[in-house]
Symmetry: C2
Subunit: 199 residues, 2 copies
Amino acid sequence: MYEGAIQDLVDELGRLPGVGPKSAQRIAFHILAADPADVRRLADALTEVKARVQFCEVCGNVAQEPQCRICRDPRRLPTTICVVEEAKDVVAIERTREFRGRYHVLGGAINPIAGIGPDDLRIAQLMTRLADGTVTEVILATDPNVEGEATATYLARLLVPMGLTVSRLASGLPVGGDLEYADEVTLGRAFEGRRRLSA
Amino acid sequence: MYEGAIQDLVDELGRLPGVGPKSAQRIAFHILAADPADVRRLADALTEVKARVQFCEVCGNVAQEPQCRICRDPRRLPTTICVVEEAKDVVAIERTREFRGRYHVLGGAINPIAGIGPDDLRIAQLMTRLADGTVTEVILATDPNVEGEATATYLARLLVPMGLTVSRLASGLPVGGDLEYADEVTLGRAFEGRRRLSA
């Protein structure tokens, strides 16, 4: 135990995901020795995120304005939507440079054990986006695990009868893992090899 | 790449020791979803550390007042000083509950390759503390690696001729490692088995 401010910082850092007690201590001493301007910038970045980041009113991605950068970009194909669970997944797919369409962020996946059903996800908003017929293809890029597959199956049953081309990312992604941890090449191949689903 | 504030936070977090790009992203999204009061507390803890933590004018440990908690505590034996490299080492030794004396934090170890010589450490301040004869025993608890051993040897050559009882922590500590990573039992045994040095 340290006294006062340094122990407070060790405690606060230790609450972050993936930061154990030793890492928290190491980071706290790094902060103690760091340039005050650098520490100020980190503290500001933390509060700025809460103050300024919002969620895109169209797709649900993280955004700095009412609409995210991708939804505001007129060069992105309006005919194709890639459905993902989280904003992190948008970044992972953007890194592959395989996809020129738009996104829809569900905010999670169907998970009965955790009490998350279709109504807890941004599925109604997806349906609204599909209403005017501009979108002709939907790529289901939910995580390759049980919840992600269940969500893709649920969505395919809704979307295929609407006459849309619906596909699921190809296998090649490690099963049971998180999409965000796939490397660019694997994720890029999975994109190329996506398979069309029938009802 | 995210837009604006969230990327700024990912970048700032990625500069911390032991935080890679994936961890930085994970922490940033945790922050984004966290209670604003929790984020405020973390941001405040960061700036408070810079504003309020100082170094004890006696021993060089981290402190919230001009003197640290241990130097202010009249129950700590004034006759024994344990010399360590860093404030982190004080906490590690306190956890063993083996030591009831006081500390002296050198602020590093002799390391000719990094250009750190005896004059860069708080050795002059140690000599001042020893001047009035109150201290009769000095325990050298520098890290069990090359720099720590060199520093202990250097200090032993200064202190033994002064008639002080000088000891070095017993082997039992993993060689080549950092003192702060030793478990309490190992470090406690090393304390018990410390061996007296001769000139």
